[in-house]
């Protein structure tokens, strides 16, 4: 068998795997949409503004309602020191 044929088989296998995980992902996304009505209802009724992802600091728990200075408010010349500050860029 020519090497290019083997290579084509390899690429086809990768494409099939990629297709399978994407289809499975789509099905999960549809299931997620079922619970989006619950979340919509909650944000509307309770006035929620932020996702509960990082709960270590108030400026990463509620970035939408936090001003730019919140990470440095502890004392004059304070440094932002929470690990999530590396991942969460400051809101603009």
């Amino acid at each position: 068998m020519r090497p290019s044929t083997l290579y084509a088989i390899l690429m086809l296998t990768l494409a099939i795997v990629a297709g399978a995980v994407t289809v499975h992902g789509r099905q999960r996304a549809l299931l997620e949409m079922d619970s989006s009505a619950v979340r919509d209802s909650l944000t509307r009724a309770l006035g929620l503004t932020d996702l509960c992802l990082a709960t270590e600091a108030r400026y990463t728990r509620h970035p939408a309602l936090t001003d730019d200075l919140a990470p440095f408010m502890d004392y004059p010349a304070a440094l932002e020191h929470f690990p999530t500050g590396l991942f969460w860029a400051p809101p603009r």
Binding site: R2, P3, S4, L6, Y7, L10, M11, L14, A15, A18, V21, T22, H24, G25, R28, A29, E32, S35, S36, A37, V38, R39, D40, S41, L42, T43, R44, A45, L46, G47, L48, T49, D50, L51, C52, L53, A54, T55, E56, A57, R58, T60, R61, H62, P63, A64, L65, D67, L69, F82, P83, T84, G85, L86, F87, W88, A89, P90, P91, R92
Partner: protein, 393 residues
């Protein structure tokens, strides 16, 4: 056309055989390249999933939120401001809200406590058990799944928080949020506004912020501008601003992690350049023999291009599929410690990776194109050396 494709197919065959001959070296390059693409793609898929989750989850967030600022810090807002805001044309309703954080010293967790002035109007069943407190009812609390575990309540349905004067404020759990809303409510305690003021030691004339509903959602910005003018010293946050905040927070261009990943990619390209420019004597001899046999420099370059492209394409495919599995099935295991840091309450998130053609093209341009350039350019320099000197070594 047939001749052209046959020629390239033959060159591809030769390039693949050449890759196989040096399988040790190429396998190490493949593994490192796959890992770099895996990291870049994981980061891209994760930030895209988070951004999509934020956009989908927060589309019903309050239209306008008013905070009171003193010396650059948020302070409690006088409830009397609500009357002034109601006078602004276009405002439908103003609601006072008290909220803040309680630190659980036993587990080291931060719990968000939110106290409502009104009975929430819900058009969906959002609680896994129980109900919200009725109007006038005291001491009730609806809690998130994380709070239930963090306080170690088990089958008990009462708990206490410390007031500022260190006396205990008791609560009875009247309901528990379902796990499908964990991304919003995992660390949340909802209670009545009088209990909230009692817990935080706040006067009845104050609130944490005011929520404003406008008559026409298209006029949010105009109404916000009017409120800002009518109440200097307040910070007015609108729904579009909240959504834009999440775009900025999850933008892959910002953030330290993106810089680290791009540094890893740059290091890999430097390595690829170094490997390609330091060709072994066997590789130089191979090029010389091909040229003696009548191959032109473009043909030799074509082999090098196909070698690099074939390897890069498989690495790209494997890297992106592994990244998809990492985000979709292992919930971003490698990034979770950076994303959640010292958080004690960590909702069990269920990411569904969102992959767009634009993201794949961006990854391809960021990783594969520089790699091709880093390998083909040194090959061109080697291919243009005199054949007799290369053969003599």
């Amino acid at each position: 056309m047939r001749e052209f494709s046959e020629k390239h197919l033959n060159i591809l065959d030769y390039a693949l055989s050449s890759l196989w001959r040096r399988k040790g070296k190429n396998l190490s390059v493949f593994l490192v390249f796959t890992f770099v693409i895996f990291l870049l793609a994981s980061f891209q898929f994760l930030t895209r999933s988070l951004l999509d989750a934020a956009q989908a989850t927060l589309r019903q967030t309050p239209e306008i939120t008013i905070q009171y600022m003193v010396a650059g810090r948020q302070e409690s807002i006088p409830v009397s401001y609500a009357a002034k805001i109601k006078d602004v044309f276009g405002v439908r309703k103003v609601t006072a809200r008290v909220w803040g954080y309680k630190f659980n010293e036993v587990t080291g967790s931060n719990i968000t406590v939110m106290a409502l002035a009104h009975f929430p109007r819900l058009d969906q069943e959002v609680l896994a058990e129980g109900r919200f407190g009725a109007k006038g009812e005291k001491g009730w609390a609806v809690i998130g799944q994380g709070v239930l575990d963090d306080l170690g309540l088990g089958s008990r349905r009462s708990f206490s928080f410390f007031r500022p004067d260190l006396t205990l404020k008791p609560f009875t759990v009247s309901g528990v949020f379902g796990p499908e809303s964990n991304i919003l409510t995992y660390d949340l305690v909802i209670t009545g506004i009088d209990d909230g003021r009692d817990l935080f030691g706040m006067e009845a004339t104050l609130a944490t912020d005011l929520l404003v509903e406008v008559v026409n959602p298209l006029e949010i910005a105009t109404v916000a501008r009017k409120i800002s003018k009518a109440l200097p010293g307040t910070r007015v946050v609108t729904r579009p601003q909240i959504l834009k905040t999440y775009e900025a927070v999850f933008s892959w261009r910002s953030g330290f992690a993106a810089i680290c990943l791009l540094s890893a990619l740059a290091a890999f390209i430097i390595l690829a350049w170094d490997k390609a420019s330091g060709m072994s004597p066997e590789e130089r001899r191979e090029i010389s023999i091909l040229k003696i046999l009548g191959w032109q420099t473009p043909d030799v370059l074509m082999i090098r291009f196909w070698e690099s492209f074939a390897l890069a394409l498989v690495a790209f495919g494997c890297g992106t599929i592994l990244a998809y599995v990492h985000i979709g099935y292992f919930q971003a295991l490698l990034f979770r410690s950076v994303m959640m840091g010292w958080s004690v309450l960590r909702p069990g998130l269920s990411f569904v990776p969102v992959v767009s053609f634009g993201d794949l093209f961006l990854l391809f341009s960021l990783a594969v194109l520089p790699y091709l350039a880093a390998t083909v350019i040194p090959a061109w320099r080697c291919a243009s050396v005199a054949t007799d000197s290369a053969l003599r070594g």
